[in-house]
Point group: C2
């Protein structure tokens, strides 16, 4: 059943806001400061109908106390509400509130990456059933217009791969390690002192945040269902100063990448599946992603016709996230004024998400070896035994300090990790000092 | 009068294509190859109704000769045509054809930067009058989704400045000069040999192409009318190897920039006007635009809430441009299926375009001077006389080779260029060896 949802042009559209933290407060400020501009662009004024919060006893600057309520469930179904903005975060009660709102015929805007990555499908199904819009640009990479280009601009194209730096905290830490030679722990403490990392940095440094965003990006890029649980995830806590300096010697840099790839079938058709993963990787300094510094985000997209594209900007923060919410709000409000609705995600492609072992990638491996004749032959034999072909090998140092640096050609991750295991067991290999995947370069 | 324009969902939408050159041929190919995907995303199949060309006697691979006609005027008003794609280029007959199409109730997609920069206003007025859509993502920066983010994602934000590398030919030439120390003429010949520059390179190297794109970007960013004729334009033919090596010594790089800026009034309000200009400028190597190599394009946007954003990709070429056209086609077709229309440009802000002299910028000036006491004092006095404050000054060489390198603080372009004139007339200054504006850094 699709409720009647088109107000007359010119009549004010009324907005319910769920959550009034850092992002919510900015949304309230922009709705007030930009009211005239917003009305001109929407074709109708936007009015704040109510703000749902958890606790009433907090002072909120610039927020009219008469609008504040703790009863979010009543607010989202009120007759005088046309649109609902959700900036609470987390799975519940956000999911229930968004579903109740759409069932009551309200269009919704969400900045909730965790929810969209875990259960986007339920939200999209509700949007289709009730003819509601669901927009969520702010859920990935803050203010960077990214979902809209993927959803709309590239809709006539065919995306092969998405490579993204989608977590500012980890990019800041890795940038510090690259620039100042800091170790992981020092760089993390520095990021915490500057407010780039939280006291409990697990969600960032272990890659959970990036994995949620990777799931959302993969779903949009490949029209196929991907949840956060499908994403292979490795964080940056194991990245060492040796990894970073090894990358520098390769004229590369270590970044935590969210990678979404179409994996072609053996016959070259695009049908075998998709690979979605988050892990640290070396990329060449000449790659556009390599110059993404500090806490910035960027997403690199490779498409059939459009070629290589990159979208860069601030990936987090109250004002940038609120800017993305406002962009969505104008789009959804325009749809209401026009009596229409925007595109809803479809997962018609239904490609399987492949296990990490089937992903094709390249490895950089640094080995401390015994400096004696035959060591290179023994090591090379181990690669050959797993069908992994070597692209370059370099010996450094002598005696106690002898090292081999090997970069492979492309092979399955299963074969590559089996090779590393094999190397660890070789008597001539004292230590596998660094292992890092290599991306962004053929 | 708004003609009835919404076909029933599921009914095929019929597309007229005007022009069948490099881009047109790619559009035909994608319409056929991606037919199923496009139908799934639009909600109705897309069919090619006809292709208007100038000459019938040319073989066009993959193009059904039965669809080809030389009578474009009849084609765009045919009852069985729903949408018109214009990839002819130039002012006429493109403008007349687009106006006829919109008057007949067809929505239009254009890749025509020259026309949109010269007379976008007439096209937008027609779109409003006849309730037609006009989309033109492909007109600026090829496949890079840029207009849509500016039109839609940043619609709830406030853009301060747009800095763009929007011409691939000149970026290729300047990149060669930077990388290989080539002079302008050698780099141009190289670009011509590789097909990056045309036999007559005037439109590119004199900045006409970039100026048209700057006008379109400024109009979108500031909701104010700007035509190509309003844009201050300097090309790259005067850029010397000395300019490029001077930039390198400043850890900077020379780029041809399209710059669109809001100029605040004296009281700090955003009302004084806009500055729209195309000229070579030094930007620091740490700026994201500095790493845009070869013939790539990128546009850097500074907005109030979103902060700094950058959009990067291939700025030209048949396939990337066709990808942008297809993205627009899907958006316009979806609007038709939904019986609605997209946003049409509005120029409600009506800000004046300020003359170049009122633009505030910084200069880098390299002087060959007589090496004798008092030269620095005399030079510094000339800056002071025009109210220009010096940020840094460096003396290099001795005797015959003595040079002063001066970088100014921000000042009006009028004061800065008057200073350069004054310096030329100083007896102690043998030559003003290099003058370059400095951007992307406060």
């Amino acid at each position: 059943m699709k409720p009647e949802r088109a107000p007359k042009p010119g009549k004010a559209l009324r907005v319910a806001l769920l959550g009034c933290g850092v992002v919510g407060t900015e949304v309230v400020r922009l709705l007030s400061e930009q009211a005239d501009d917003l009305a001109a662009r929407v074709g109708a004024p936007l009015e704040l109908a109510g703000i749902a919060v958890r606790r009433l006893d907090r002072q909120r600057e610039g927020v009219d106390p008469a609008l504040v309520t703790t009863d979010a469930h009543t607010l989202v179904t009120r007759d005088d509400v046309d649109l609902v903005i959700e900036v609470i975060g987390g799975i519940e009660p956000a999911r229930t509130l968004l579903l109740e709102a759409m069932k009551a015929g309200k269009s919704v805007i969400s900045a909730n990456k965790a929810l969209l990555a875990e259960d986007g499908e339920t939200l999209f199904a509700a949007a289709r059933e009730y003819g509601a819009d669901i927009y969520y640009e702010a859920a990935v990479a803050g203010a960077i217009p990214l979902l809209r280009p993927l959803r709309e601009s590239l809709v006539g194209d065919h995306v092969h791969r998405v490579l993204g730096i989608v977590n500012g905290t980890t990019n800041y830490i890795l940038d510090q390690m690259d620039t100042h030679g800091a170790g992981f722990n020092d760089a993390l403490e520095d990021a915490q002192a500057l407010g780039y990392a939280e006291a409990d940095p697990t969600a960032d440094v272990e890659g959970f945040d990036a994995a949620a965003k990777a799931a959302i990006l993969a779903q949009l890029a490949f029209h196929t269902r991907v949840t956060a649980a499908d994403v292979h995830r490795e964080g940056i806590t194991e990245v060492t100063a040796a990894d970073v300096s090894g990358a520098q010697e390769m004229d590369s840099v270590v970044k935590l990448l969210a990678i979404c790839e179409r994996v072609p079938a053996e016959d070259g058709r695009n049908g075998r599946g998709v690979s979605v993963r988050v892990h640290p990787a070396m990329i060449p300094r000449s790659h556009p992603l390599a110059s993404v510094r500090e806490a910035y985000n960027a997403v690199f997209v490779e498409a059939e016709s459009a070629g290589s594209l990159m979208f860069y900007g601030a990936g987090a923060g109250g004002a940038p996230t609120a800017s993305a919410v406002l962009g969505d709000l104008v789009a959804v409000a325009r749809n209401l004024v026009g009596g229409t609705s925007g595109p809803v995600e479809v997962t018609y492609a239904q490609l399987p998400v492949l296990p990490m072992g089937e992903t094709v990638t390249r490895y950089y491996i640094q080995l401390d070896v015994a400096d004696r004749p035959g060591v290179l032959a023994t090591v090379a034999e181990e690669f050959a035994r797993h069908g992994v072909s070597i692209r370059s090998v370099r010996q450094e140092g002598l005696g106690e300090d002898a090292q081999l640096v090997v970069v492979t050609h492309r092979a399955s991750d299963a074969a590559l990790s089996a090779t590393v295991e094999g190397l660890r067991n070789l008597e001539m290999v004292r230590e596998v000092a660094s292992v890092m995947r290599v991306e962004g370069d053929e």
